[in-house]
Amino acid sequence: MTAAGEVATSAGRRQAERQAGRRARLLTGALLVPASFWYLVLLVLPLVIVGVYSFGVRGPDGGYQPALTFDNYAVVATRFGPFWLSLAMAAAGTALCAVLAFPLAYFIATRATRRKTLLIILLVIPFWTSFLIRTIAWVTILGPRGVAGFLSDLTGTEVQLLGTPGAILLGIVYNYLPLMIFPLYVTLERLDRTLLEASKDLGAGRWATFRQITLPIVLPGVITGSILVFIPLMGEYVIPAILGYGKVFLIGNVLQLDFLVSRNWPAGAAKAVVLIAIMLVSISFYLWFMNRGRRTRDVSVL
């Protein structure tokens, strides 16, 4: 469009171009209208309302009644248990996923020569099949006629697995493992093998090579994977509801109770606001921590 100035243009041509520009802008706008509508009306507006509700009180038969009180937040501060449990579960689940995923991703990326595609597809299939169904299957496996029964017979005492934090952690790792494997695999796939050979030629052992070459290179993959796993974990509801047998309460379960059972929407809204705040803080801290570590390492290399 800057060419317009150079070319000797008649008034008619300029007008035609202006019209074309207006049409292009109109098209751009039209392309963005539905997504903007969805984001503003179904994302921003609801979140604003949640913020407003968190200062209200419960109506006589549930729901919301306008008020300006900090009571809901005060209650959150006194009953912080589910938040701690969720944070601990999410942190432990993310770490376990990383530990389990790394050797697997490494194996597929570097060792599985012709079977690579098959192994990847085999990872994608469970990931695409129903989350709910695969979690319910663990009820059978861990139940009194499954592993728990087997362990009870073995030890001679009653062993309960369902309804324990361990069972929930298992379900968490099981469901979110692929989300950790995929980004790790992608970074490991791009790993330049000559660097490993150079390290070996320079006399570095396996461990030193891993720590000084492999680990810094896959760090972005670890960060991506951790965030992909951590985010849904913090709001996890289905896994504790199924494998927790109503005995273990994460924030997701508390929110569900507040909204759908006791219908105390303002209390739930306050918890949701706190949850979002916790997530923002923890993810920012995590990113800062990981990147800080990387920068100092770069400096030491220089």
């Binding site: 997504a35 507006l45 919301y64 079977r115 469970p126 099949t129 006629r145 592993v147 709001g235």
Partner: protein, 328 residues
């Protein structure tokens, strides 16, 4: 974490055998050097993780053929009676129909709007784009349950505003229409979640696209519409198809958002299955689950075949299959 390892021999020995034979044939190329302990450990770990991932799926399928009338783990011989029961059940049929309707509408809307937005974002000022990006990331970062409760609050507000108006308009009508939560609210909430997904997939594809074809097309005096139809769209198709299938399966499987914003008469299959398990897992649940697995796998396989054929026809050497798209 020892549970899957101990469970494997007793419950899923076929899967384990399959897993190990699949991985044990390491290839003649590696036979020259003796396998070290670390190599063996990698191999064993990988095999065990695959067993871990497939164990529940095998359990669901095996126990769906259980002929028992009582406990799901009481094996009473092979039978397909639970499949017959599942297919004949009116509630299940209704739930399945609701699920498929919601998933299809969600996939169509999310894919269309997401692709449109991805194309539109190429044409706007960086400031607008980063604002949009921020919203996209917010919608991805916020836990599903928060989206669910926030949309529930919104919809109930809309209902409280609209219904008195509707009532006033139809005063005296024999059968007054009023707004209530139902399929529409579930679809609207699902679209929000999947829109961002499609947007991110298509934008990634756009960023990696070869611009020279588009320029060549303009040089050859093709109209913008024709350039889009013949150059841009075919290149974006794998991402669009992947986005469509991801949206469809997400919606088909979703429990959390659906539970919050569904209304009377819009019970989906996940809600039905979850409700069933409150009373304990039955062979019927497993049969429904196995049918659902079959359905998802068919959809996935169909998408995979489509993309593979698309890639072959275009002669692209890149990994354009579903797995490649998801991994990247």
């Amino acid at each position: 974490m020892t549970a899957p390892a101990t469970a494997a021999p007793s419950l899923a020995s076929p899967a384990r055998a399959a897993g190990t034979t699949r991985l044990a044939g390491g290839g003649p190329a590696r036979r020259r050097q003796p396998r070290s302990l670390v190599e063996g450990w990698f191999r064993g770990h990988t095999a065990l993780v695959y067993v871990f991932l497939y164990l529940p799926i095998v359990v669901v399928i095996v126990f769906s053929f259980n002929g028992t009338n009582r406990l799901v783990t009481d094996w009473q011989g092979f039978s397909i009676k639970w499949y017959q029961a599942a297919l004949a059940d009116r509630n299940i049929q209704q739930a399945l129909w609701n699920s498929v309707t919601i998933a299809a509408w969600n996939a169509v809307l999310a894919t269309t709007f997401g692709t449109m937005a991805a194309l539109g974002l190429q044409r706007v000022a960086p400031r607008v784009r980063s604002f949009f990006d921020a919203l996209t990331y917010v919608s991805v970062i916020i836990p599903e349950i928060v989206i669910a409760l926030a949309t529930l609050i919104l919809f109930s507000n809309v209902r409280d505003v609209v219904n008195p108006v509707l009532a006033g308009l139809q005063a005296g009508a024999a059968k007054p229409v009023h707004l209530q939560l139902g399929q529409w609210s579930v679809i609207a909430a699902h679209v929000l979640f999947n829109l961002s997904l499609v947007l991110l997939l298509v934008r990634a594809r756009l960023a990696g696209m070869d611009r020279t074809h588009v320029e060549a097309s303009y040089d050859l005096y093709a109209t913008p519409w024709r350039t889009f139809r013949q150059i841009t769209f075919p290149q974006l198709l794998p991402a669009i198809v992947a986005g469509f299938l991801l949206s469809f399966t997400f919606s088909l499987d979703d429990y959390v958002i659906t539970q919050f914003v569904s209304g009377p008469g819009s019970q989906t299959l996940p809600l039905f299955i979850f409700g069933q398990t409150r009373l304990g897992v039955t062979p019927l649940t497993n049969a429904i689950a196995a049918l659902m697995l079959l359905f998802t796998l068919t959809v996935l396989l169909g998408g995979q075949l489509f993309l593979a054929r698309h890639a072959r026809r275009r002669g692209g050497g890149r990994d354009e299959t579903m797995a490649g798209l998801i991994v990247s």
